[in-house]
Symmetry: C2
Subunit: 435 residues, 2 copies
């Protein structure tokens, strides 16, 4: 099964966001023409992929026409984007992947949706999320194989970007909810330094871990969209002055990585070294072995309190998966255990910081391997746990192909607050590892 | 103007929440009788105080009757509470102190509202907030003098508790929005360690500083309500094993404290020492002198991005105060300045931590003095800046009386994550300083 690749003369919907915005600003395309090309792609592929929870072609075209008429400019002027269905939208339902929120219409837009629109973005629709961005899956299928999961929880956002339905999509990550579906769907996924991009109007899962996540088809688009969401003028990420110092970090989750993926990562480390990077193995301190329990306690404790209204009023509408895992654990977790877990997370953050004195980025697995067969589960998120818990920025790059021809990502991790350096290194790595 | 004080045979509405819950559990009162007593007080005093944005006596009585019929128990079983009107409520409007949200009806309850109800609380209504918990005032007047501000932004919550309309109320604090109105209205105000109590369903002002805040008439009620909001079984705070080590911390804001209040604080330090506390002066490192600018940058940057939807769609409905201060500054603040401010805040947090090796609590001003005359402004919040920015827990105790007979609070600050120790020390200090 070949990966879909961009044609030499790309259709408008296959351009990157950066290219779309440039074409629209130059007058060589209109927002309406770009949006119509994306709609044509959605019409063709949505029946198989099911990426969208809400999609109304007329509404998208109306927004695009309004942009074209306005004479406005903007960093993503006229460019369509998708938003995971846990982001509030004032003009589209926001159903959270849960029957509890069927037909729910928020009063306003999430801050990130509003910032996207402020920069000229056209909201194409709402992408499928797992229930409350947890594990219970939505309807979306992997674009490369409908029998396989797209990953979660940002399932529809990853699939829609992979399918050239939109060049940009908003997701979130509390464990591996952006990096994992990006790896499974063959797109670039980015989780920013915790706290940088405001989560107002996004349904909170576990706020001390949650971030917005971005999905796109190029590192340049990620950098562009990040600037939009920070509410600042975009500034392209420069090429790094020198090849990055790469720490190859297998982590204690390495035995869970499939042998084929282990080989791909080790080969990638060698290729980066040949391309001029200084590559060295990195071993994390022993206390990181406890981080899975720490992450589980923090996320479960917060989740179980955050969803008190839903638990108390709509218990029967919550999936068995959510009730018997996250909520059961969270309701049983004491405040003392939660505080101890937060303390441990803080110690890990402090211990990780000096690692980046020796290495510009870490290279690690994004997922065990290709998207697994089956739609009931969204795959193993372990490979994101350490980075999510330590609040550092991460990118996954679609550079590997697995035994069944499906994509696998390589994850790069940067220093906390070092997002631009991470993205610069990611551009270099992406070029060096491009097939 | 005398402070209202509890009568020897207190009416039901004058009981503490702890006493109300005990009376209801023992069958010596019903939730309905308690709620009716509070309603009678609201009927008598609301025309002068204007603490409530939404209040429907029938709805409150219906909740109380449902509780009485249910046979349920709960830590605050049958006890009425108020919620600042930036807390989502599924059965009452949530208007945020802004015409943009006139008539807004959220889908669900904020986590803290739902946790209160889970523990048996009866939501009495929504208390007046300043616009979006910022500076533009609501209609509420100081209970002691209608010509004076109640303080903000949790104006109605502080006034309603002071007036014996409810024993407990939810507020928030991003600068001094709980401590300041508590000081001005003569009640106990508590801001928890940042991050402990979930803010889901509370309109975010600046998430990296925001906390929920609690208002009550006793430290014991604060401890009780805190446990409810952490979703755990209440455990009364014990008396401290020994008199606390008190650091008297004038801070560089001392010149802004009125001379009379300076004398009250210095006298309080002497009285605590006489009562057995080890009292010593504490001077903070020089870098704390920059914390006002740091707090302003963090809060303004986040605020201006959080409210993008309101700014882009309803600019003309935003007050001039908010537009020309917080939003103007926030839109002008660059991401680099914001990141630098966050770094500075983190340095201050690290520098403050060892201060608590020598002192169990710090004693500081809660406000410059009595509530100032005038309803256009909510008073100087400087005295909370350091503690808000450093994420440590704080309590204000209504122990001083100013030159016009109005209350002034004494602020106690605890170690980050040391909330129970702080509350234990606060009980001791409250008893030691009681008039």
């Amino acid at each position: 099964m070949p990966l879909p690749s961009r044609k030499p003369e790309a259709a408008l919907n296959e351009l990157t966001a950066t290219e779309m915005a440039a074409a629209i600003a130059a007058g060589s395309a209109t927002s309406e023409s770009v949006v119509r090309a994306c709609i044509a792609r959605i019409d063709a592929r949505e029946p198989q992929v099911l990426a969208w929870q809400f999609f109304d072609a007329e509404q998208a075209i109306a927004q695009a026409r309004a942009f074209d008429r306005s004479g406005r400019r903007g960093a993503i002027g006229g460019v369509p984007f998708g938003a995971k269905d846990i982001f509030d939208t004032c003009d589209m339902p926001t159903e959270m992947g849960s029957p509890i929120y069927a037909g729910h219409r928020p009063r306003g837009d999430a801050a990130t949706v509003a910032l996207s629109r402020k920069a000229g973005g056209v909201l194409m629709g709402k992408t499928v999320t797992t229930e409350f961005a947890n594990r219970h899956p939505g309807k979306t299928r992997n674009p490369f194989d409908p029998a396989r999961t797209p990953g979660g929880s940002s399932s529809g956002s990853a699939a829609a970007v992979a399918e050239f339905m939109v060049p940009l999509a908003l997701g979130t990550q509390t464990t591996g909810s952006t990096i994992r579906p990006a790896s499974f769907c063959g797109v670039v996924g980015y989780r920013p330094t915790w706290g940088d991009i405001r989560c107002v109007g996004v349904k909170e899962a576990a706020g001390s871990l949650d971030t917005v996540g971005l999905l796109a088809r190029s590192v340049g688009d990620i950098a562009l969209y990040r600037d939009v969401l920070l509410g600042r003028e975009p500034e392209p990420v420069p090429a790094p002055a020198a090849p990055p110092r790469v720490g190859f970090c297998r982590t204690h989750f390495w035995p869970r990585v499939e042998p084929g993926t282990q080989r791909l990562l080790e080969e990638a480390a060698r290729r980066l070294s040949k391309a001029g990077a200084r590559v060295a193995d990195v071993e994390l301190p022993a206390t990181f072995a406890d981080i899975e329990e720490t992450h589980s306690r923090i996320s479960s404790y917060e989740f179980a309190r955050n969803f008190t209204w839903e638990i108390e009023n709509h218990w029967e509408l919550i999936s068995k998966t959510l009730r018997e895992n996250r909520l059961k654990h969270g309701l049983a977790c004491t405040f003392q255990q939660y505080r101890a877990a937060r303390d441990h997370a803080e110690r890990c953050r402090a211990l990780l910081a000096p690692v980046f004195d020796e290495h510009d980025v870490l290279l690690a697995a994004a997922a065990a391997g290709e998207a697994p067969i089956g739609l009931e589960r969204t795959g193993d998120a372990s490979f994101c746990l350490i980075w999510t818990t330590t609040h550092v920025p991460c990118v996954t790059l679609p550079v590997f192909t697995g035994p069944h021809g499906l994509p696998i990502g390589a994850q790069l991790i940067g220093r906390r607050n070092g997002d631009r350096s991470l993205l610069a290194a990611a551009r270099w790595v992406h070029a060096a590892l491009a097939p």
